[in-house]
Structure formats: C-alpha cells, structure tokens
Amino acid sequence: MSEVSEKKTAEKEAMKKLRAARKETIKRAADKMKKQKNAIKDIKKQLKDKAGTVPEIAEATGIPSSEVLWYLAALKNYGQILEGEKDGSYFRYKWAGNAPEDPGE
C-alpha cells in the first residue's frame, strides 16, 4: 500500500471513530437539518414564481410566521432571498435566482 493510500485509510478510520463518538449530536443535527431542508423547500416553492409576505408564506406552508421570518432572514444572509416591495405593513420576499448554495435542492 502506498503512503498516500495508507494516510487516506487512517483518515477514514479516524473519521469513523469520531462519528461513533459524536453519534448523539450528529443525529440531533441531522434531524434538525432534515426539518430545515423541508421548510426551505416549502418556502422556495412559494417564492419561486411569486413574491410573498411572511403571513402569506406561513399560511401556504403551515410553518409558523416567526419561523418563516427566521428562515427568510437566514436565507437572505446567504444570498438566497431578496427583499421586494412593501405591501401594507409587510415586505414581500422573493427567491434569488443565482443563489451560491441551495440546500433546498
């Protein structure tokens, strides 16, 4: 076995051990990620063709409005959401076309 492949095998083994040691936290984080992916997918579906306000998105997706706003703020931070026009007391949000990363996909 070459030195490079030996190193790779050792790294894989170490990662395996680390995964076993962090089993509980990985499961919690993975469950959270799965829930987030579903929520983002639902929000994206609502906003892909038409801009929406937080209450509109909340009603269409069934996600509580405070969570919708949290997701919109987080996604806006990473360039996936754009703020649109004001509609009454609310702003409209739309999906950004050229998102650098899209966990909803």
């Binding site: 680390l18 990985i26 984080a29 909340a58 997701y71």
Partner: protein, 434 residues
C-alpha cells in the same frame, strides 16, 4: 509542560475597555497580550448600532480600535481562549489559558467563508439576537477580528462538505484544546458585563411572550447589518406602528437580585427611540420609566431632544406584560401622571431595558473578590478606582461595575496608567538591585 509566553502586560478581555488599555500600554512600548473568550475582539460595543449621545456608528468607531490592536507590533491577540487561573508569581503574574477548539486551523484559515456557504445546517445566530440563522461552521460576523472560521460541533453532522471545499485544508475535525501559560509583570482585567437574563422576570413573561425583545436585540434590528436590515416584528415580519420601552426591566429590582442602577439603560433607550423615529417616522414610541437618569455630558440635552422629537415618556412602572391581540403586547402599569391609577396599553413591539450584571466571576480563577453587586471589588474606589486586591492587577470598564462607553474608555486609560507605573516601579527595583 505547557508552553510559556512572556509579556510585559496581560489584558483579560478585548471589549472597548480591554482594547483601550492594551493600546495605551502598547503605545508606551510595552509588550501586551490580550486574552479574549469570544472568537472575535470588539466586545459588546462592536455589536451595537450607534452610541449615545453623539449617535456615532458604533462599528465605525470600534473597528479602527480593533484593527489598531490587531496590527500593533506590541500586541498579541489570543481569541477564543478561556482564562483558567491568574496567580501572583514573584514580581509578576502567571495566567493559565486554554485555547478552545475552533476545529479550524488558525494559521491556515483565510476567512473566505466557503465552508460557511457550503454547510447545510442552519443554527440560531446569537450575534443577530437569534432573529436569523448562521451555519454550523461560521465566521462570527463580517467585521469580526480575526476573520477565522469556527465550528459549532453541537450542530455539525460531520458531512465533510466544509473540509472538501476549504482551499487551504484548514478544517480539522480532530483539533484539541491547547493549554499554555502567559507570564507578565502586570495585568488589567476588562471582563465586561452581561445583561440580566430575560427569563428571570416572571411578570415580564420570562422570554415567552412574542414580540417582547431585549434592548441588545433591538440594537441588532437597528444595525446596518441586522437580521432583517430594517426594524420588523419578529413574530410575523410586520413593520411595527407602536413600540414601547420598559425601563428598569432588569435594574433597581431586588426580585431579580439587581438592586442597583445600571447607569446606561435610560440613555440607550432614548438613543434607540431616536433611531426608531428615523427608521419608522410614523411609529409611536413610548418609554415607560421610573425616573430618567441623564447624568453624563450632553445626556440631558439628548433627553430633551428626544422629547422634542415626539417620543412619549410615561412615568410609571410596568407591573406585568401579557399577550395582546394580533401579536400585540399589553402592558399593565401604574401611571404616576394625570391622577395616577392602574391602567394598560397595547403596543406592537416591546423592548425591555435590561440592566448590566457582572461578566465574569473571579472565584476559583484568582484571588480577587467581588462586591455585593458581583462586580470586581476595587480597594480604593474613590482615589484609585482601578486597583484590585491583587498587587499589579488592575480593573477597567464594566468589569468593576456598570458604566457607559465613555467612562469605560476613561477608566481603561487610568488602568493602563497604573499598570505602566507599576511596570516602571519594577524596572526601578531591578536597576537598584543591579
């Protein structure tokens, strides 16, 4: 045997007081180490929107000091480090310090944030008051110093995307904490403050009533790089028409264990109210207060300006808060005006002006005690307010008690001067012996 690093002076805490003390010492050619518990320097001040009474942009006036400290040839920064102990050692002090694990190699990380963009897990971002999400691997904020990523292992799935995308192979899942010692001749404690926890007051909903937020959260809503880039109600994204401040929500309140005045809440509430008047010109802004303490230079005029701008000041202590209609918040208070009496009012958004509590308890770390207020005890509070019980160890800023930014900077200069005098006296002793 842990690594030993030697400096003339050690500063604990890299908030505005710690940075000022370090810069004042470093400018006198002393070699200074700064130990900071957070992943970035800048303390509370870098997280603020603007400062009173000048309404200067907090970031604009803090960032130069952060950069000056980071680039100063006589200053070495140790961020994301915990102070384990601080002991006298002959003529100086020895600090045992633990470098916490970033799981990112500090030497290799170039702060490109590619790991952050690729990470698939979102985590509530305390730097944005919890109103937005960051990733499980992240750089604290855009003007953080140093620009080094760190990993939140509690939210990491070990998917490895961050490591694969990193152009410098800086991600290290196996990093361990590193212990080291800092030996210095003198030290300045600038450990700052925290705010009284929102959960501590049952009458104010213990943090469970929607649209009741803290003043530090409002700072983020008002900041240029805030979570929404504007002021919105966190429950549903509505632009609020009516905002209320509850003064002394975490100070002068024995039931919360904080009987003292926090000295800054009146002024920061007035400042935020003025900023809100600019951000939301049509909104009604009301401040419920017991009495306004505008004692600093220019503060009374600032208060009068706020009244002239149309901000309403209602004299009365809010007793309880309850959920109102359509996401509103109902305040129940005893008015001390217009004949008095128990009354109530509803607002779209309510801000609790929480007080200041000690940021660090020296118990178990060093032989310095605290006063009845839990802040670091000073031995000559009138004539030398930066002296602590430990020889050669001084205190600056909110570590010694609640104070505003101006007083913190002044006290940091005083602490640096005391430390400088102490260093000079040690050098004189050495020369006399020689």
């Amino acid at each position: 045997m842990p690594k030993i690093l030697k400096f003339d002076a050690l500063v604990i805490g890299a908030g505005i007081a710690g940075l000022q003390a370090a810069l004042d010492l470093a400018d006198q050619d002393f070699k200074v180490a700064i130990v900071e518990k957070d992943a970035t320097i800048g303390g509370k001040m870098i997280r603020l929107s603007k400062v009173f009474p000048t309404l200067d942009c907090a970031s604009c006036i803090t960032t130069p000091k952060m950069a000056a400290a980071a680039h100063h040839e006589n200053i070495t920064l140790f961020t994301y480090c915990d102070l384990q102990s601080l002991d006298r050692n002959g003529n100086g002090v020895t600090a045992a310090v633990r470098q916490k694990t970033r799981f990112v190699d500090e030497e290799k990380c170039i702060g490109c944030r590619q790991c952050e963009y690729q990470c698939p897990v979102y985590v509530s971002d305390p730097e944005q008051g919890g109103f937005s999400g960051r990733k499980a691997i992240y750089i604290p904020f855009s003007n953080a110093i140093p620009q080094i990523a760190l990993m939140d292992v509690e939210n990491c799935t070990l998917c490895g995307k961050c490591a694969r995308v990193c152009p410098t192979q800086a991600v290290n899942f196996f990093q361990e904490p590193q212990d080291f010692l800092i030996e210095a001749q003198t030290a300045v404690l600038a450990t700052g403050f925290e705010v009284t926890p929102l959960e501590n007051k049952q009458q104010y909903g213990e943090g469970k009533i929607p649209n009741v937020i803290t003043a530090l959260q409002m700072e983020r809503l008002l900041a240029p790089h805030g979570p929404y880039n504007r002021v919105l109600r966190p429950s549903d994204g509505m632009e609020p028409d009516s905002i209320a401040y509850i003064q002394c929500a975490g100070s002068r309140d024995k039931s919360m264990g904080v009987p003292y005045c926090s000295r800054v809440c009146c002024m920061y509430a007035i400042k935020q109210a003025m900023l809100l008047s600019g951000a939301l010109p049509l909104a009604d802004i009301t401040i419920y207060y017991m009495d306004i303490r505008a004692f600093g230079k220019g503060y009374e005029q600032f208060f009068q300006n706020a009244k002239a701008m149309g901000i309403e000041f209602v004299k009365g202590k809010v007793a309880t808060i309850s959920e109102g209609e359509n996401g509103g918040v109902r305040l129940h208070y005893e008015s001390q005006e217009d004949g008095g009496g128990v009354t109530s009012a509803e607002h779209d958004l309510v801000v609790l002006s929480l007080g200041m509590v000690a940021g660090w308890n020296p118990d178990g770390h060093c032989r310095i005690s605290t006063g009845s207020d839990a802040f670091i005890k000073t031995v000559k509070p009138k004539i030398a307010p930066t002296l602590t019980e430990m020889e050669g160890v001084f205190v600056a800023g909110a570590a010694a008690g609640p104070k505003d930014i101006v007083d913190s900077i002044v006290e940091a200069g005083a602490a640096a001067m005391e430390a400088s005098k102490y260093l000079a006296s040690l050098n004189r002793s050495v020369k006399a012996v020689a």
